[in-house]
């Protein structure tokens, strides 16, 4: 039953001092929690980064070996190309030499370059011109030279010259 003219004031355990103390504590705890969560986040992000970097590293290592393969392949290609280039130069020289060998009066219709030989088709006004002006230098170059003639309609001769260079090993074997 209420007897008093006035109502009692609200009582609270949280006096001003305690409120101040609690607010300080709560601020500290909030700051700690924030720092903790920040660190958690950072830790997580570092882990993520680490994983990504590891994956990248593996990827790079893979691509590195792939590149090494490619490099070696390219180096091989380079060696090959150099070889081919050298061969081509040699071939070019030999073709130039060949055409230098061929006198003006003889016309070549076909030339077949073999690995160890040369087959020439052409027209010569007569056998002598061929024998003296083409066969003699060919003989000096190739080990074996075979020539065959057959007459053309205008009195000229078509010729087929087959020339072979015997390998040094074969020669040695033969010997």
């Amino acid at each position: 039953m209420k007897y008093s003219y006035i109502n009692p004031k609200k009582k609270s355990v949280f006096t001003q001092e305690i409120q101040l103390l609690l607010s300080f504590f709560s601020i500290t705890i909030i700051m700690l929690l924030l720092t903790y969560s920040f660190l958690l986040y950072k830790n997580y992000s570092f882990k993520q980064d680490k994983e990504t970097l590891t994956a990248q590293k593996i990827e790079l290592e893979k691509s590195f070996s792939l590149m090494e393969d490619k490099i070696s392949y390219i180096e091989k290609q380079k060696i090959l190309s150099e070889t081919i280039y050298t061969k081509n130069i040699v071939l070019k020289d030999s073709i130039a030499n060949l055409f230098d060998l061929v006198p003006l009066r003889i016309t070549l219709s076909e030339a077949q370059l073999l690995k160890n030989g040369l087959i020439l088709y052409g027209i010569t006004p007569n056998k002598d011109i061929y024998n003296f002006m083409l066969q003699a230098p060919l003989r000096s170059i190739f080990h074996r030279t075979y020539s065959s003639f057959y007459p053309a309609k205008d009195g000229w001769f078509r010729f087929v010259s087959t020339n072979y260079i015997d390998n040094q090993e074969e020669i040695e074997e033969d010997e």
Partner: protein, 338 residues
Amino acid sequence: MLSNLLEALYNKVIVNIVLKRSSCDVYIETCSKKAVVNSQRKTFETIQLNNRVLEFISSYTKESPYSYISILDMSPDQGAIPVCTKSRLSEYKDLDSYEYKCFNEKWLYFTLKNDLYEIEKRYKEIGVDFIFSPFTLLHNFFEDKVNSHLSLYILVQDSFLSLAVFENSQLMFAEHLDMETSADDEMLSQIMDDEEIDLGESSSIDLDDVDVIEDMEDLEDFGDIEDLDSLEEIDEFSESQDIEEELYEADEPIIESDNNNFNEDYQRFSLIQSSLGHYYKDKRYESQFVENVYIADGVGVSGDLKRYLEEEMFLNVYIRHLDIPMEVCALSKEELGL
């Protein structure tokens, strides 16, 4: 929920301040949920809330956040009226500037709002939680008696008298009397009476105009004095006596009267007498003849007051000693549900 839990952890400190004429009683009780843990009482020879009083109070209130300050309303302009319905209040008093509260929807006690503000202002350093009316205190103190037949109940304080007539827990009449201001009023009224007497004496009475024979007839009716001797009526009179209270009273020591007490008790007696006269005369109150008077003695009245009332007014007087601060504390505990 949390506040209830925290409240249960702390003891409650109830500080009860009762002002007297030139001193103040401070009674402090520390209670747990079940029992009184500690109680302390001190009287200060001041009515101001000085540093010593503040120190004494704060040394207890700082122990618990649940400390309550209770004050007994000492303002002179307060009282109680026997109705509680708003429409009937104006018959007794205009309560616009008063703070009032209904008691059990039966009667109402009131005090001046400004006095309440004054109390709150005076104790603003410690903060007041409860302000009680002396009438609720009187009702609670005589709770075992007020629900019986009509009697007069008086709370005697240092400088105040709170009178209330209760019948079956219903207030019939109440008056709060300030002994200091009433003393002045009484002196004034006494002077007025004297003047009237002087006037009476100065005006001549013509004795010849008095009809002696008619008056004699009235006297004859009055002369049937034998009726008064009948035993029945005496028995009736004795029935209204409170034997239980008499036994209780017999255990209490009677305080010897000195001259100062005598004066005060006489003043109290005359105040009670005039107040009862007011009750009998005022038509707004349902007046019945009061036979028993219960006095809650908060100051230690002498046997003189009892004798006066018994001899002059033919009342059965029962005095119970009352520790006002403790009773205020009991009211606070009831408010707090302890």
